[in-house]
Symmetry: C2
Subunit: 154 residues, 2 copies
């Protein structure tokens, strides 16, 4: 067992490209991380929206699976808006993210709450409930984007 | 209720920037999506690795939370390697991804299996078990990268 552990730890040591000690070693890492989370979230939310809009046939399991992914991801980006992460890569977070951090946090919490409701609605399997919850999620996205996201990369 | 639904659907209609009808409307969308999934996965796996390497103090709950995120994400990128997604954005997937698709799929399944074991180990809370499982995950990442990922963007 000890030998196996040594081999495993040696393998871990080879993973030099991974973030290790700190959550984000550089501001660029935090920016790339949060942008990536939003990209994946938007994709999976979009799949639910497509069903809510009737653009693709409603499939309760697909809706529930996608809403669950959105719920898993919703809390993640807000760990990555630390001080000093306003610069480092082209990105659209306005200075207000840091200047009005309580308001930004409230907007984030609103989205997280609406996403949890969408997850619950999708688990319930009612398309009407999903439509209503997805609309509320979309409004929470838009409200935060209006205040905190620039039209073009800064 | 009907009025609320109409309002919700109108809100959904405003979300024009979201992917809607198709899973990925353009090859660029698929490439950006899969790269984003890997970015988020690598970050959370890195947090487990940091504990396995003793670079940050072991916290069983943090390890379990992060391993669960990795497990949630592990299956996602492989929906985004469809035909025609080898070009569109700078990216490192070698032509072998499509030329040797069964081998690529096997490498993906290997990683997904090792990540599931890491998730189980982390839920169990034993640092030794996490070290061994994280080492196996790392080897499965490296094996696939060796065969299917270029050193530099293609």
């Amino acid at each position: 067992m000890n030998r196996l552990l040594v081999a495993s730890v040696a393998t871990l040591g080879a993973l030099a490209s991974l973030p290790a000690a700190a959550q984000f070693q550089k501001p660029e890492d935090a920016i790339k991380y949060r942008q990536s989370v939003y990209t994946v979230m938007a994709n999976h939310f979009g799949r639910v929206v497509a069903m809510a809009q009737g653009k693709v046939p409603f499939d309760a399991k697909v809706a529930a699976d996608n809403a669950a992914i959105v719920a898993d991801l919703a809390k993640l980006p807000f760990t990555a808006f630390g001080e000093g992460t306003d610069k480092g890569l082209p990105q659209r977070a306005k200075p207000e993210v840091w200047k009005e951090s309580a308001k930004f946090r409230a907007a984030a919490d609103k989205m997280i709450g609406e996403v949890a409701k969408l997850d619950a609605a999708a688990k319930g399997g009612s398309l009407d409930a999903i439509k209503a919850a997805a609309g509320a999620v979309g409004q929470s996205c838009k409200a935060c984007h209006d205040d905190f996201r620039a039209e073009k990369p800064l």
